[in-house]
């Protein structure tokens, strides 16, 4: 009887376990669509770790299950007295350490640092590059473009409507970001980009979108009561559409959203935000 109860329990548990993802239509670990030039690099590191941990955890799990059946206490079965401190055990321990170091730690370190140094922190230069300044605030995104002269903090800067970021497709975009009030984080799942905006610091990152469309920008660092609704939109469009959009904005912004921004800042802080482009990434 107890045996049947156990079998029923285990099958019920397995069914319950598989039910959740099935119910949600998720049988695998899905990524959001990658629309960036370099997102695959992040996915690659993640997939390598997927393989590593599947093997490592698989071994642990196999050992656990095998031992539960093979070495369970029962009449006539006695444990083997083994302290595991003979030279052969020490050798095995050292080998395991070396294996972990060379096949996991060093591989990940090398792969990740290469991407970091050569790609994510190797900011593109040249005439083709679009520069954007972002200032998150509680609870919205401000975007600023350099305008005709290519310089920030000049008369012809263009401020986009609140929460609207447009970029041309297949063009490197270098972003400098500093928040108005508290720590925010610029997060676009489709770009595999997450970057904190810390008050007092200008953080720089870059991306290149490869597919047209409208994608969501989220704030991923808790920034207060409106954290969840701090949602922006990234529109990736052709170069012509982008230029047309930019030209349509003009230097004086008068969209509905900006009236709120202007009211909010009687001292004129928000309308006059922006900073000289930081040299390190030009």
């Amino acid at each position: 009887m107890a045996r049947y109860l156990k079998i029923i329990f285990i099958s019920a548990a397995a069914a319950v376990f598989l039910m959740g993802p099935a119910h949600a239509g998720i049988w695998y670990l899905p990524f959001p669509e990658d629309i960036s030039l370099n997102g695959w690099r992040i996915d690659r590191v993640i997939k390598y770790i997927d393989v590593v941990i599947t093997i490592a955890f698989g071994l642990v799990l196999a050992a656990l299950i095998y031992f539960i059946f093979r070495y369970r206490a029962r009449p006539g079965h006695r444990a083997v007295y083994d302290r595991g401190d003979r030279p052969v055990n020490i050798l095995a321990t050292v080998c395991l350490g070396l294996l972990v170091f060379f096949s996991i730690d060093l591989v990940i370190e090398k792969m990740s640092f290469h991407d970091l140094k050569e790609v994510f922190w190797n900011f593109p230069r040249g005439a083709n590059v679009l520069k954007v300044e972002i200032m998150p605030q509680q609870f919205a995104w401000n975007f600023r473009y350099a305008g005709g002269d290519g310089e920030f903090s000049t008369e012809d800067d263009i401020v986009a409507p609140l929460n609207q970021m447009h970029v041309p497709v297949d063009t490197p975009v270098v972003v400098q970001m500093a928040p108005y009030d508290v720590v925010h984080a610029f997060y676009v799942a489709n770009l595999r980009i997450k970057q904190d905006a810390v008050p007092g610091t200008v953080t720089t990152f870059w991306f290149q979108a490869t597919k047209k469309g409208v994608y969501e920008i989220a704030c991923s660092a808790l920034c207060g009561i409106g954290h969840t609704n701090m949602r922006g939109f990234l529109t990736v469009e052709s170069r012509e559409d982008f230029q047309r959009w930019l030209a349509g904005l003009g230097t004086e912004t008068s969209s509905e959203e900006d009236v709120w921004a202007a009211e909010e800042t009687a001292g004129g802080i928000l309308t006059k935000w922006g900073w000289k482009w930081q040299a390190k990434s030009q």
Binding site: I46, I53, Y71, N89, I90, S112, K194, G224, H227, T228
Partner: protein, 569 residues
């Protein structure tokens, strides 16, 4: 030392007996575990029924909003859930209850090195819990800036009204004082009060875990206390240590500095919490496999290595703050190095069970489940240790799933293992094994369901601390899974009531336990219940290691107590 008859007050309330203090911490920790757990239930309720009144307690607790959660209440809940679970549930349950009760007994000491300091430590801890609970009754609610309390959100610039943040800081500083007092006591006790013959390499691994964890406490808790006092000044005196940017009237401070200070403490803190778990797991696996702990010295060296590395890796919490690649590289390397000692004691855990005679008593079930859940928790750490994958997974539900596997699943499974294991020594009675097994299986399945699927939704891009995740189109397809997570979280919460029922019933009606119900070899099992104030009568001399089980030349029983000689070869 003389221990005469005492009054009720000195015996049960202001006691200097480490065993009574341990029990006080146990009840204190269980209370906050219940409190923090209920908050988790409400948080999960919000993920299913957005804008629906919280049943039973909603109108009572939040009359202003009609029992409906609002974003500010939600932020308060996630802040308090994190803070309470880490500092007022896990810390008292492990270091407080088991540390106090078990460590002196296992090393053959008559009490802690400084019994009065020990009592003081508990009562300061109690006070800190009172201050934190008090902040719930503020009109504006408790702190709402997350358990990490990043400034400037946690300063007046952040726009969160009321005194919640200030009370949060005060309670944490008080908690820090209590923890530092306790840590000094533990470090001294283990160094000075070991019984004759109890060398460092004859100590049970539980003692090693608590000792190393106390060293980290003594070194790193003062750092966060200092950081929090600066934050307090920013909050009440208008200083700007951690305030910068356009909203700062004087450009002076640096919010990043706080993050460094916080994580310089914060990362060792996770090892402070997990080291005792590793120790308890190593000891209990040996006891219930009826084998000596496999590779005892290698396990000790691994634990010491992790202790040393823990203070060098805090930067991996800050990869996406704009940290330079060179710094990122170093922190990534040091963090990944932790995988080596961890894999070594994992090998030793597996080795302990290998060719053993596994007894599946309730403490063993919980212990073996820690090998499972900590395996998953530790391995998912690889993603977050790596700078580039952290760019995607930072601040996501993946991270939430990862640290719940390491801190919630592992630590609470260890707390339950410890409670079921030492309950007979603490109260002289056994807890009901059938209820214990039901509690185990339902908890194990549900918590894996909850935390594994948090990893799944995080992998799919859902970021954390969202009042209403469905605001985002890319999260909408994940909402059915989020709802299932909530359902299993409720089941996980409900089954804990069974544990509380079993605990309190066994306290009064449980089967009377004999001196050594688990046939364990460490010193606490040589004493009869109730253990008098002063523990050991006469001198204790330790002759063997802590896990001498199934010795081939020892006939009659399969364990040799630490006070007995090993048979001659």
């Amino acid at each position: 030392m003389s221990h005469q008859q005492q009054s009720f007050w000195t015996k049960y309330i202001f006691s200097t007996d480490h065993k009574t203090i341990g029990k006080q911490y146990l009840f204190f920790g269980l209370f906050f575990l219940l409190w923090g757990g209920l908050q988790a239930m409400v948080i999960r309720w919000q993920q299913i029924y957005i804008g629906v009144e919280v049943p039973l307690v909603g109108k009572l607790i939040w009359p202003d909003s009609g029992g409906i959660l609002t974003p500010d209440i939600y932020n308060q809940l996630i802040t308090m859930h994190g803070t309470i679970m880490l500092f007022w549930a896990i810390t008292p349950l492990l270091t407080g209850a088991f540390g106090n009760f078990v460590v002196p007994l296992q090393i053959g000491a008559r009490d802690m090195a400084f019994p009065v300091l020990n009592m003081l430590s508990f009562w300061v801890f109690f006070l800190s819990g009172g201050v934190l609970l008090g902040s719930h009754f503020l009109k504006t609610g408790p702190s709402a800036s997350g358990w990490t309390a990043y400034p400037p959100l946690s300063t007046p610039v952040g726009g969160i009204p009321g005194w919640g943040q200030t009370m949060w800081i005060l309670s944490l500083v008080l908690m820090g004082v209590a923890v530092i007092l306790g840590a000094i006591n533990f470090v001294t006790t283990v160094i000075r009060l070991r019984a004759p013959g109890m060398g460092f390499f004859k100590m049970p691994l539980t003692v090693w875990g608590f000792w190393l964890s106390s060293i980290l406490n003594a070194v790193f808790v003062p750092i966060i206390a200092a950081g929090l006092i600066f934050l307090l000044l920013d909050n009440v005196l208008g200083t700007q240590f951690f305030i910068a940017g356009s909203k700062a009237t004087v450009k002076g401070g640096d919010p990043l500095l706080y993050q460094h200070v916080f994580w310089l403490f914060g990362h060792p803190e996770v090892y402070i919490l997990i080291l005792p778990v590793w120790g308890i797991v190593s000891d209990l696996l040996a006891t219930f496999s009826r084998k000596p702990a496999f590779g005892y010295k290698a396990t000790v060296v691994s634990m010491c290595t992790v202790t040393a590395l823990s203070g060098l890796v805090w930067g991996h919490h800050m990869y996406v703050t704009g940290m330079s690649p060179l710094l990122g590289k170093s922190f990534m390397f040091l963090t990944l190095l932790i995988s080596i000692p961890t894999s070594i004691f994992f090998l030793n855990w597996i080795g302990t069970m290998w060719k053993g005679s596994l007894r599946f008593d309730v403490p063993m079930l919980f212990t073996m489940s820690i090998v499972f859940v900590f395996g998953l928790g530790g391995l998912t750490g690889l993603y977050l240790a790596t700078v580039t994958s952290d760019m995607y997974l930072h601040d996501s539900m993946f991270l939430v799933g990862h640290f719940h596997y390491t801190l919630a699943a592992s630590v609470f499974m260890a707390s339950f293992a410890g409670i079921y294991f030492w309950f007979p020594k603490m109260f002289g009675r056994l807890m009901d094994p059938l209820l214990g097994k039901i509690h185990f299986w339902v908890s194990f399945l549900c918590l894996n369901y909850v935390f594994f699927n948090m990893i799944v939704v995080g992998y799919a891009g859902q970021h954390r601390r969202l009042f209403d995740p469905a605001v985002y189109d890319f999260i909408k397809p994940l909402m059915p899974l989020n709802k299932m997570i909530s359902m299993f979280a409720f089941a996980l919460g409900l089954v804990q009531l069974l544990f509380f029922f079993n605990f309190f019933r066994s306290l009064f009606r449980g089967k009377k336990a004999d001196r050594n119900p688990w046939k364990a070899a460490t010193l606490e099992w040589t004493l009869d219940h109730p253990i008098p104030h002063g523990n050991f009568q006469g001198e204790v001399v330790v002759k063997t290691g802590p896990h001498e089980y199934s010795h081939p030349d020892f006939k009659g029983r399969d364990w040799i107590a630490q006070t007995e000689e090993l048979p001659k070869q």
